[in-house]
């Protein structure tokens, strides 16, 4: 997994609550059997009109947000389906961090596994970032996982919380399956205790 330490980038606003994973990556694109190549289908039905053209009303279709690597959205981002294709698509499109007042549980887990940082901030601070992303041309922010802080050039310095283990996995880009396998002996002992010897 790729590591995340600190990242500075263009911020794109998605001023909607309850953005579900069906919107992030619609079902017709879930049939691929690879982890890559989902970026072009990100927010497909919102980004594109039914004839496939970019819809200029959607922020991510607008030239001013081309190259954005931080997405700011309203509460309960990533609700619904457990599809990991959602973080794969966000990552493949170029996003490194999502800022929102709350995230759905499974989506947040899936982000950690893919080196994508889900940044939880209070609603008022999210609203500030959202407004600046909408109003200030080329608005950039820094997401600093080491300091657990989001900063910008306008004086914002917002602390965010993340559990220590997720932070460590992200900072070091850890393979958590490898970590679990270090406890092979305990797993085997547990199985023997519960199910008897094999």
């Amino acid at each position: 997994m790729k590591a995340f330490r600190t990242h500075t980038g263009l911020v794109a606003p998605l001023d909607r609550a309850n953005v579900d994973t069906d919107q992030i990556i619609p079902k017709q694109f879930l049939k691929r059997i690879e982890r890559t190549g989902f970026g072009e289908f990100l927010f497909y039905d919102w980004r594109r009109t039914p004839d496939g053209a970019l819809d200029p009303n959607f922020p991510l279709s607008q030239p001013r947000y081309t190259g954005a690597s931080i997405l700011v959205a309203d509460r309960n981002f990533g609700c619904g389906s457990s599809r990991e294709h959602a973080p794969w698509a966000l990552d493949d499109f170029g996003f490194r961090a999502i800022i929102a007042p709350s995230f759905a549980d499974i989506f947040a887990n899936n982000c950690v596994k893919n080196g994508l940082l889900a940044v939880l901030l209070p609603e008022t601070q999210v609203a500030t970032i959202m407004k600046r992303a909408q109003e200030v041309a080329g608005y950039r922010a820094t997401v600093d996982l080491e300091q657990r802080q989001v900063r910008d050039d306008f004086g914002l310095a917002a602390a965010f919380e993340i559990d220590d283990f997720s932070r460590r996995c992200l900072l070091e880009g850890l393979d958590d399956i490898g970590l679990t396998l270090q406890h092979e002996a305990e797993i085997t002992a547990y199985e023997a205790r519960r199910f008897g010897a094999r």
Partner: protein
Amino acid sequence: MAVELQKPIQERAPSAAGPRTLFEKIWQEHVVCEPPGQPPLLYVDLHLVHEVTSPQAFDGLRAAGRRVRQPQRTLVTVDHNVPTTPGHLPITDPIAARQMEALRHNCREFGLTLYDIDSPDQGIVHVIGPELGATQPGLTIVCGDSHTSTHGAFGALAFGIGTSEVEHVLATECLPQQQPRTMVIRINGPLPEGVTAKDLVLGIIGTIGTDGATGHVVEYTGEAVRGLSMEGRMTLCNMSIEAGARAGMVAPDEVTFDYLRGRRFAPKDAAWDEAVARWRGLKSDAGARYDKVIEIDAASLAPFVTWGTNPGMVVPVTGRVPDPAAARTVAERGTAERALEYMALAPGTAIEDISVDRVFIGSCTNSRLEDLRAAARVARGHKVNPKVRALVVPGSQAVKRDAEREGLDQIFRAAGFEWRDSGCSMCLGMNPDILGPGERCASTSNRNFEGRQGRGGRTHLVSPMMAAAAAIAGHFTDIRRWRFQ
């Protein structure tokens, strides 16, 4: 696959912690170890696998040279992509065919039993797990699918995971997990006539919101919950995720044991008696504490219909489409306005005045025998409205056989419903069953998100009886006034 019996764990020292919830009992029994600086490692008893969220996980195993640790604890089927036309054929979508073929290949390579498209046991993974008796009280169950919460109906701890976690469980049979918070939702009094488990769960989501249970494992209790059949409890737990819950659970009781007795992977003979004795202890102790308590009066519930684009946007069938102007906040107003625009509905429209083009009876929420019986009871002796195309999709091949044995297929066909083969079908439109742009559907599924059933499609979530009645009337209608034939 042969799910092993859950044998009693050796007694630990009595907990000094005092009374425990059902969740805490299962959690504590499944903690393998608590490495410093890491979340506890939780053991997984049963891993359900389907074609959509697994191929990348198997690729990961291959790349790392890892094997599947417990093939006999892994139950695999195809459901999302399969066509529901007779014999599940033809598979006209080459990408879907490739995904199903990848699963066959992976099962062969890693030594897993697959309930494939031609198996008499094939079906939606959340229908066949319980049906085969693989889902049992006290187990930990995961699947790369958010509706894994369904299995909590048996007093199991069951939750959805992503593909990286699928790989983790395949390789280790464990997951590092932070312990979730607990919530109890107590439904006081019996459900009123015409109000089903589906209406109950829609009412709950309407009350607490689509993120009302985020970070929590919900235990459902109270008279109305005790009064539900296993099918009803599965419907209730299934949609826990729609309130953001990590999992939903109902403590097992005689209803649970009666359902499981004699099923293929359920314990037999002396082992059965031993299991039931153990399962009887799977309930929250008197005085156990929850992080959050919600109480709902069952008498306040009605047959519900969703009007918007998330499952919390719900009103009684006798109600009207709400006015966004009445929303509490600017953000909520914007959300409601956007939903109404997508749904092409005007504020104040009576729900019963909303016409439907399509009706879908099926999905892991409502495709079991009891659901089909309820819908057939409504359909008997009536005709589907000529403007409506209506589909009935049994959740599994076993449900289909049982329904046909009872003649339910004949009732549906005589009324003008299409009778299909088992699969996820129109719940998420990953197969040929989809809505066209602008089509409006009364659906027994679980998500009314934009485009969920097909781009531009408009989904209203209802119970199986309400869906059948809408198919016949051509618009939503109050099942409490239905003329059963």
